[in-house]
């Protein structure tokens, strides 16, 4: 967690850090899983992925917004580009925006991070283009609010109370603001769907939203919505890795019980 690089007494001249070998092996293993599953998926044409509660609700939410003639509010939270959850939020937005453009609903995306704003704007604009309705794209629908946490909350709460969106969709990285946003949204009667990889905020979304994508489901959802075999292959690769992780823990425990702590020692983080 802490870099002690600044205070190193002498300059490091090594070209590889052996203590980080386990990380390298982890990456290579995962890359291998990914390639194998991509080949599998190409050969089969598809891969089974169990239904994820909340994803089907996205369509329902957009449909309702169109019927009611009210906008869909897409809240990426405090997502910035150093959080991978943000990439999932971008992908989900681009798929969602395309559906919204197709059925002629309106979308509003208030952003906390200016870089995320530029990327989300480009993704949304392109989604409208692909849906064949570039003229329906409303400039300013993806907009920057403030990169100060609670100023962002104040503004998004205001949007919810005054524009009365039919659906509030929260995707990405959320911190303490999660419950404030979701509770305000709850009072307006909007359908609320959330997804975050921030474990600490999950209980609050679960309590205040209609559907919540838990942790990893956020990433799975972004792949799932694509429905392309290559995307589904990544979900399968993650499953393989989870199975391996469980097996590694069990094996390490068993081995150290038998007096062989080597595997456990190898897992140690430097």
């Amino acid at each position: 967690m802490l870099g002690s690089g600044l205070v190193a007494p002498e300059l490091d001249t090594r070209w590889f850090d052996p203590a980080r070998l386990n990380v390298l092996v982890g990456i290579l293993l995962f890359l291998g899983f990914l390639l194998i599953n991509m080949i599998r998926a190409k050969a089969k044409g598809t891969l089974y992925v169990r239904p994820i509660a909340g994803l089907s609700a996205l369509d329902e939410a957009i449909g309702r917004a169109t019927e009611m003639g009210r906008p869909v509010l897409y809240v990426p939270g405090l997502s910035d580009m150093s959080e991978v959850g943000t990439f999932a939020a971008i992908t989900i937005l681009s798929r969602l925006a395309r559906r919204i453009a197709e059925i002629g609903a309106e979308i509003n995306v208030p952003c906390y991070d200016p870089v995320v704003m530029t990327i989300m704007e480009e993704a949304t604009r392109d989604a409208y283009r692909q849906a064949g309705r570039p003229d329906s794209f409303r400039p300013g629908c993806v907009h920057y609010v403030s990169a100060q946490q609670f100023a962002y909350v104040a503004a998004v709460n205001g949007i919810m109370l005054r524009d009365r969106p039919a659906a509030n969709i929260y995707m990405g990285s959320f911190y303490a603001e999660s419950l404030l946003l979701a509770e305000t949204g709850n009072t307006t009667g909007a359908i609320q769907i959330a997804g975050t990889d921030k474990v600490t905020q999950l209980p609050f979304f679960i309590c205040a939203c209609d559907y919540t994508l838990l942790g990893e489901e956020l990433f799975a959802a972004s792949a799932y919505l694509g429905r392309e075999p290559v995307q589904l292959a990544t979900i399968a690769a993650q499953d393989w890795a989870k199975a391996l992780a469980a097996a590694a823990v069990l094996a390490a425990l068993l081995l150290s019980a038998l007096g062989q702590p080597a595997l456990q020692a190898w897992l140690r983080v430097s």
Binding site: M1, R20, N22, V23, G26, I27, F30, L47, Y48, V49, R50, I52, M81, S82, V84, F87, V115, T118, I119, E122, Y144, V145, S146, A147, Q148, F150, A151, A154, A155, N157, G158, L161, R162, T200, L202, P203, F204, I206, L214, G215, E216, E217, A220, I235, A236, Q238, D239, K242, A243, A246, A248, V249, A252, L253, S256, A257, L263, Q264, L267, V269
Partner: protein, 205 residues
Amino acid sequence: MSVFETWVAAFLTLCVFSFLYKDNPFYRFAEHLFVGASAGYLLAVQWQDVLIPNVWTPLLRDHRLTVLIPLALGVMMLARITEKTASISRWAIAFYVGIYSGVAIPGYIQAQIIAQLADAAKPFPSGWGALSAGLILVGFLGVLSYFFFSAPHKGAHGIAARIGIWFLMVAFGASFGYTVMARVSLLIARVQFLMGDWLHLLPGS
């Protein structure tokens, strides 16, 4: 804080609290003020803490030409101002996205996967501790199987996932209950500000 500043802060505090009753012009004013003031503050901070020391000074005083690279990337970002040149910004975005994806890969594997596995693989303590450690292992495997997407929640996998859901529920209930205290502390601080610093109603204020 001076008396004037205390009164300003107290007024704005009350504006925000008025939101609890319902949306009203005071809250709306505070909200708009907050957005403008914070966006302006952050912009000024970027100017003072990034653009001056990381671009301006090294370029003009130290003549370090490598600074031109990030400067060029930054200017490409600004190309989004008009739609005609907007596509130029893709180069800057591509660089930015690449850097953070690249940082994430080893970072997540180390901090979130291997560190957790290392902790999970620690030998069981003796006595009652072993029971808790066993329960942690069962819960860990259960929740992991809940997140298994390639197979439906049926049979043995279904049972494991069910156990996983129970653990998830307990964990969520515990974090929720645990957080209440921290949130109430925040409110206590604001009430102490209003009743103490502003109105001097509290003992010792």
